[in-house]
Amino acid sequence: MMGSVNEDIRQYILSEFLPGETASNVQDDTPLRTSGILDSMATLRLVGYIEERYGIEVEAHEASVDNFETVGAIASFVAGKGGATS
């Protein structure tokens, strides 16, 4: 399950924020927030996507660098929230 969540989030980031980039350029540990790939507005959009996709609610303070710095961290956060793919 985690693997598919990682891939799903990676694909969303690539299609929405890095069109034209190859998937290998966004590894599970590639910095997203501190590198500027995800700015605050992009993070907000990603949060909206994750909420809808995995049926979870993300509180404002949870969209922190800790939880949204890498694809791996985001996937762990979703798993911790009990998110399920439809």
Binding site: E59, A60, A63
Partner: protein, 398 residues
């Protein structure tokens, strides 16, 4: 000798020639044109000079159904599809000379009524939508701040949670409809450190202690649409009046801007069409050097450019209707429409003025007012520069 068709025959062709509207939509649009011509054009020059909002015009628009065009009938609206709404707005822009009144209607509709419809609780919808549709309640969008304009989400107005209420503190500016509004959609942050994730929307009723409409703002154009600043000083709002989730005000705001950017310029399609017809009529009738001035290419080219702009603007606006009716995202398309129509509008108003020469410069002609009104369109709902940024982002290069 070629027979020259009358302007109306060229520009107001019946439905088979209109690529965007059905026969029913054309009838709807024609009804809007007649309504606007007969009910909304009294004393516009004086009201523009005096910066007077037409309460009477507002009530008439409510009676005609304009204020609730896209709202479901159970909340007091006409429940029209968005393309129908655009068609009506285009008709109003064609028939009405009071672009300020139409601007106020757009601000009311897209940044108050629609957000409540989209994000409001059932209780909020039942409480506010009927009044917003029947004209008793005028809505105002309260987002911009002195230091948060294009960068609106850097706002400083705070919303402190205290039990079952939020206490708002801050100063807002450029609030259209503020002097006569009964309901304010206010954006504030619950925590500036959260950035856009802290922005939250609230419905604040006029008369709420701590909300004060302060300095009225004089404008270059759209002068019949009053604007003012607002101060929020320990303004306590029940948590039940939060619009949408805490920290999701950006979604509310972006949604309203998408609607506004896509649809606010529908009025101007009508105005551009009317200006074009007026200019064709004028260049045929006006004679200099022994012939109609339209026979001079330098004049005719301006009219041609106005026609090309109108014909290229219409599809961009009606595309928004097509996308919205299919629940498809339209952020980039709305920005494209807003950017292009606004810039074309200004150029066409300048052409109309130049074609009329000294007469166009006179207040009584109304062309100079329409140019002043048009200039605002490259600024409100995001400047042309911001629209370009949005489009670049949508293309993955911004």
């Amino acid at each position: 000798m070629n027979r020259v068709p009358e302007p109306d025959a060229v520009l107001s062709r019946p439905s088979p020639m209109d690529l965007y509207l059905t026969e029913e939509q054309i009838q709807l649009q024609n009804a809007a044109i007649e309504f606007a011509r007969s009910e909304l054009n009294d004393d516009v020059i004086r009201r523009d000079h005096d910066e007077t909002f037409s309460q009477e015009g507002w009530k008439k628009c409510a009676g005609f159904g304009v204020l609730g065009l896209p709202v479901p009938s159970e909340y007091g609206g006409l429940e029209l599809g968005i393309t129908d709404v655009i068609a009506v707005m285009e008709g109003l822009g064609y028939g009405a000379r009071d672009q300020g009144l139409l601007f106020s209607i757009n601000a009311h509709l897209w940044t108050n009524t629609l957000p409540i419809l989209a994000y409001g609780s059932e209780e909020q919808k039942r409480k506010y939508l009927p009044g917003l549709c029947n004209g008793e309640l005028i809505g105002a969008n309260v987002a911009s701040e002195p230091d948060a304009g294009s960068d609106v989400f850097s706002m400083r107005t705070r919303a402190g949670k205290q039990g079952d209420r939020y206490v708002l503190n801050g100063a807002k500016t450029f609030v259209s409809n503020a002097p006569m509004a009964g309901l304010f959609t206010v954006y504030a942050t619950v925590d500036p450190d959260l950035g856009p994730m802290g922005v939250t929307a609230f419905l604040v009723e006029r008369g709420t202690p701590g909300l004060t409409v302060t300095r009225g703002l004089q404008k270059m154009g759209l002068r019949t649409s009053p604007m003012a600043e607002i101060v929020l000083d320990n303004c306590a709002v029940p948590a039940a009046n939060r619009l949408g989730r805490e920290g999701r005000g950006v979604a509310v705001f972006e949604s309203s801007m998408e609607w506004e950017r896509g649809c606010i310029l529908a009025n101007y399609l009508g105005m551009m069409r009317r200006q074009l017809e007026t200019c064709i009529e004028y260049v045929r009738a006006r004679k200099q050097f022994g012939k109609s001035i339209g026979k001079f290419q330098s004049v005719a080219n301006r009219v041609v450019d106005m026609k090309v702009r109108l014909d290229t603007c219409r599809p961009l606006v009606y595309r928004i209707g097509w996308l919205k009716e299919r629940n498809r995202p339209a952020m980039v398309e709305a920005a494209v429409a807003k950017l292009y129509v606004a810039e074309c509008l200004v150029k066409s108003c300048q052409d109309a003025l130049q074609i009329h020469g000294g007469y166009g410069y006179m207040v009584e002609q109304g062309i100079e007012r329409e140019l002043r009104d048009a200039l605002g369109s490259t600024l409100y709902s995001g400047t042309s520069e911001i629209q370009r940024n949005l489009i670049a982002k949508g293309l993955g290069i911004g």
